[in-house]
Symmetry: C2
DNA sequence: CATTGTTCTATCGGTAACCGAGAGAACGAC
DNA sequence: GTCGTTCTCTCGGTTACCGATAGAACAATG
């Protein structure tokens, strides 16, 4: 009921997750924190959004998983980008730039 | 089944429609053509997406409608931005810039 | 006149992503 | 032993978008 509407940039979550994993393997909770932190809280996603994305990425072979210990000595499932994931990231980034540019062109440009 | 996925910039359609109407009153079909043309075909929406948006905008008082004749002598329902619609456009544009910048920061910036 | 193409409005059911709410396990700290 | 924090995961609901579809009105063609 609050004004927040994440629908605006829907579909970017997958790309952002792939991007964070491009920095190195990370667990779900850490990915979420990373996105929120890097965006200065502009972007945030509930875990009810995150885990379905991670499961989908794995089922599509874009990431692999392994259980390990975090710095805080907790069990966590680490997600690691596969070569396919890297390619997917590049493709989604290119597509994002293309659409973003088109939107900006309309929004900023002369009629 | 084709590769096209508009989900990437979901929620922008409303903003784009408001923006096109900021150029002057226009009918549904023309709005659609305008968006597609201005974006060099990068952005396109089916009419099954467009009309629900227009109906919503009207019900929220962001546009008014009036029947008139087009240059081609066809009956068409022209949509005109209200002052509330103008304000909404500004707000959505600001929000878009904020989110777009956050996404770009993560995608382009250093980890 | 009949037929076809173009312009234009509109609806419906399905799909898929996101979200809030919630359950639960494991570890550290007090 | 209780609490807070970290971390995984599921479920049902909502909602935007889309493909398919229907159809009216006018122009142009034969």
């Amino acid at each position: 009921m609050t004004e927040s509407r994440n629908d605006f940039i829907r579909g970017t979550l997958e790309m952002l997750v792939l991007r964070v994993l491009d920095f190195g393997p990370m667990h779900g909770w850490g990915i979420s924190e990373r996105i929120q932190s890097l965006s200065s809280d502009a972007l945030s996603f509930s875990q009810g959004s995150l885990y379905p994305v991670l499961a989908r990425l794995q089922s599509e072979g874009l990431v692999t998983t392994e259980w390990a210990r975090t710095e805080n000595n907790r069990r966590a499932k680490y997600y690691r980008l596969t070569p396919q994931g890297e390619r997917k990231l590049l493709a989604e980034h290119a597509n994002w730039r293309r659409l973003r540019t088109a939107v900006d062109w309309i929004m900023e440009g002369a009629g």
